[in-house]
């Protein structure tokens, strides 16, 4: 394996000191002993597991996207075609719940876990994750979770949206088996999430290469570290609340039944205690990935590295203190409404720091508009819109007006789609050459970007207005005055669908037909950001590095200390 000799110039000086390294170690993993499918089934290699996470995410996004298509078809023709309804409200309610569940638990979180698994051990100069077998277990427990969730469709799945608020999800109102299956699926996904989080935390705490100090870690590592803590603290609460729901359903414990001394509001509090941090779990790794992409293609290291780290950590901490803003109309103490509103506004401050830091990084850069960079810049714009509507929602009197309307739907899609999904696409184009040795088509990639970017705005921008004008979310049909805007929204979906199908085609074509041409530093210019994944082959060998790298200070690092 060759490692390019770093230039001696102080600008972008070498990270790796080639003169100091430990001798070759035996690879700890035994990934090559099987061939074919068995190799994938038995692997404990973090890279192969990472790739499998990404395949899982890919299948989920196709499934979730198809459900979105069904939802949008129904809402384009709310009274059916030719007097015949397209679907029953029962199915519609299942589709909205499953769309959300698959997109979040099946797509965004596994996609981040996939990129993290693949890249983070390499970035910190380790040979694998700290617990390779636990890593494999965390992935393989996700597969039955996804299957259970998908097959719950045959048993009525969840009738009450992805939040499954009690009492609508209790036995009285949802006696079908699908809800129990959904609960078990959440349990399994939760176990996967917790094990993955422990693995990331231990890996980054203990397995950094010599010289890789905390504040030399790339920002994606920091992002995943903060996310892992959120998962570790939050997920058990989700597991707890769905278990309470399960015992309510099976054993009639009455936790959420006021007739038995329970309280439906308790469900909402516990649910959002996890599910609000979950929003940051689905956002922060994206911040990290975008930082890497912007550094590479602007030719400048991130402005205010430490500020970025602190902002990420601050978002993580405050993320646990704001869950009540999902319940402003549910009835709570007046001072609590004021408190949750204020804390939510506070989240805007570190988020602003991040956006300003990215802009300052770009300022004075020499920007290459690759597909990956275009997705990253698209993220920057769309996430700003999502962030601003988020501050609007932190304003309690305003929030009460638009709570549970399409304004909120628009907000979460600007944050989750404009934010998380755009970063995933940016990272896919960015790390695909590293993972496969092949470049995704740049020409097609730009077409895909514009289709998805335009489609995303056509779909979600009018939703702001729909919400203000009085269209509630999660409704199967609506008053006629909302019809024209809903047609625009549904047509935007078609643009995104075209982009998505082209992306799937691009991935398969590249994997099957293209040759491995990617050099170590697939995008060039790694002397700027100096992350280790670009200093090994594409794709990397099973043991990542022939020699454990030793990290020396970057030339500009004095700026950070």
């Amino acid at each position: 394996m060759s490692i390019a000799t770093p230039p001696k110039e102080p600008q972008g000086g070498g990270v790796i000191d080639l003169d100091v390294y430990t001798p070759i170690e035996e690879p700890r993993t035994k990934t090559t002993q099987h061939k074919g499918i068995l190799r994938w089934l038995t692997t404990v290699d973090h890279k192969m597991i990472g790739v499998m996470y990404l395949w899982f995410a890919g299948f989920s996004v196709i499934f979730g996207g198809a459900l979105a298509g069904l939802i949008r078809t129904q809402l384009a023709f709310p009274n059916g075609i030719g007097g015949k309804p397209l679907m029953t409200p029962e199915y519609f309610n299942q589709f909205i719940g499953m769309h959300a569940t698959f997109m979040m638990f099946g797509f965004v979180i596994p996609a981040f876990a996939g990129f993290g698994n693949y890249v983070i051990p390499i970035m910190i100069g380790a040979r694998d994750m700290a617990f390779p077998k636990m890593n494999a277990f965390a992935f393989w427990i996700l597969v039955p979770s996804g299957l259970l969730m998908a097959s719950s469709f045959f048993f009525g799945s969840i009738p009450g949206g992805w939040t499954s608020y009690a009492p609508l999800s209790t036995k009285t109102y949802a006696p079908n088996l699908g809800v129990d299956m959904w609960i078990f699926a959440i349990h399994l996904a939760g176990v996967s999430s917790i094990l993955g989080a422990i693995n990331f935390i231990v890996t980054m705490s203990n397995m950094r290469a010599p010289g890789m100090k905390w504040f030399r870690m790339p920002l994606f590592c920091w992002a995943t570290l903060v996310t892992s803590w959120l998962q570790l603290i939050g997920t058990p609460v989700l597991a707890g609340v769905v278990t309470m729901l399960l015992t309510d359903r099976i054993l009639d414990t009455g936790f959420f039944n006021p007739a038995k001394g329970g309280d439906p509001l308790l469900y909402q509090h516990l649910f959002w205690f996890y599910s609000h941090p979950a929003v940051y779990i689905m956002m922060i790794p994206g911040f990290g990935m975008v930082s890497q992409v912007i550094q590479t293609f602007s030719g400048r290291p991130t402005f205010g590295y430490k500020g970025m780290v602190y902002a990420t950590a601050f978002i993580g901490v405050v993320g646990f203190l704001v869950w009540g803003h999902h319940m402003f109309s549910a009835g709570m103490e007046p001072w609590l409404r004021a408190y949750f509103g204020f804390m939510t506004m506070l989240v805007g401050v570190p988020t602003g720091v991040k956006i300003f830091s990215w802009l300052a990084t770009l300022w004075g850069g020499s920007i290459r508009f690759t597909t990956s960079m275009m997705f990253a810049l698209g993220f920057l714009g769309l996430f700003t819109i999502g962030g601003i509507s988020g501050v609007f929602l932190a304003n309690v009197p305003f929030d009460v007006q638009v709570h549970d309307t399409y304004f909120v739907v628009a907000h979460i899609h600007y944050v989750m789609f404009g934010g998380a999904v755009m970063t995933i696409f940016a990272a896919l184009y960015y790390w695909f050459p590293k993972m496969s040795g092949r470049y995704l088509s740049e020409r097609l990639g730009k077409v895909i970007f514009w289709l998805i970017f335009t489609g995303m705005n056509v779909t979600f921008l009018p939703m702001h207005w729909l919400g203000i004008a009085g269209m509630a979310r999660r409704i199967y049909t609506y008053r006629p005055e909302f019809h024209s805007l809903n047609m625009i929204v549904s047509s935007g979906y078609l643009l995104m669908l075209t982009g998505g199908l082209l992306l799937v085609g691009n991935v398969f074509y590249t994997l099957l037909a293209k040759r491995r041409t990617a050099p170590n530093d697939a995008w060039g210019g790694n002397e700027v950001q100096n992350t280790l994944e670009w200093m090994t082959t594409s794709p990397p060998p099973a043991h990542n590095f022939d020699r454990v790298p030793k990290i020396v200070p970057m030339a500009y690092e004095s700026l950070h200390h």
């Binding site: 007097g83 409200p89 009450g160 608020y165 439906p264 506004m345 601003i388 304003n395 309307t405 008053r479």
Partner: protein
Amino acid sequence: MAKKDIKIIVGLWVLALILSALTTWAYMISYNPATATHGPASISEPTTHWLFQPASSVAERVRTESAWMVFIIMPFLYGPFLMLFYIISRFSKSRHPVADKPNENLTLEVAWTIVPALALIVMAVPAYEALRYMEIPPARPDQVINVTGAQFYWQYELPRYGLTTTDNGTITIDAKTGRATEEDSWLHLPINKTVLMNGQSFQVNHAWWVPAFGVKFDVIPGRINTVWFDTKKKGYFKGQCAELCGTLHAYMRIQVVVEEEKDFYEWVLRKGGTIPEEEEARVVELLGADYRERFAPKDGAKPASLPAATESAKSPVPATAGATEATGSK
């Protein structure tokens, strides 16, 4: 960073402030309370909402307060966008082949932490005043309404008149106009009165929401949530259940008629309500001494009973052709 760059950045942010001021101005002139005095004249008109057609002082308060929020927050939308467009046009590889050296500026970092934080605090002040206004109901409301959310209809009780709106759980929706045709399920309110609403539910969560009144509150089993508003405009106001409550959630619509006091009392009497002693004089003044005979209750106007809390929520699917019939849990 060169001096020229600083000038450009300051210029972009000044432009963002100007754009924000223009947005706020457009927002403020888009509604004039002096000219907009009427709500929708018939139930077929589109839903009105708090932003452009507020119909209560709560909604007006939220609207006014939001203008301030728009002014404070929009620079943080326009600013990054202007910066982004400028960066894309100036710092592309072709126009700026060599990247500037890495730099760091602690003052700048502190500034872009402190300034948004201060802006948010400034924004929060009117927001909290409006919140306080929303949260403190009048000590002696003119009307008290107890609303009950059920699968899948709303039932209103006016305890002062011993009146409960009849609703047999049948939702009839005209597919063309999307309005509920059952006048029995409508709530009537007198104009220029304060209204206190208590919300309850015996089955699942619902949310009572009329956008024009600026009012939305969840009704949750086991608790009574309270909200207040006043009626400032006559008209037909429409709303919608805003918390997913089951299969026919979308059909769980709300119709509120705000009318003259005289018409309101007529409605009360026609519904079989009784006039309390302290309002007797006012009713006689409005409707005449023989109001009991003239406005006798219509046949079948008697209070409906609520379904038991444990009853199953199974309900058939509505056909959507023509007028839609859907039966709730009865």
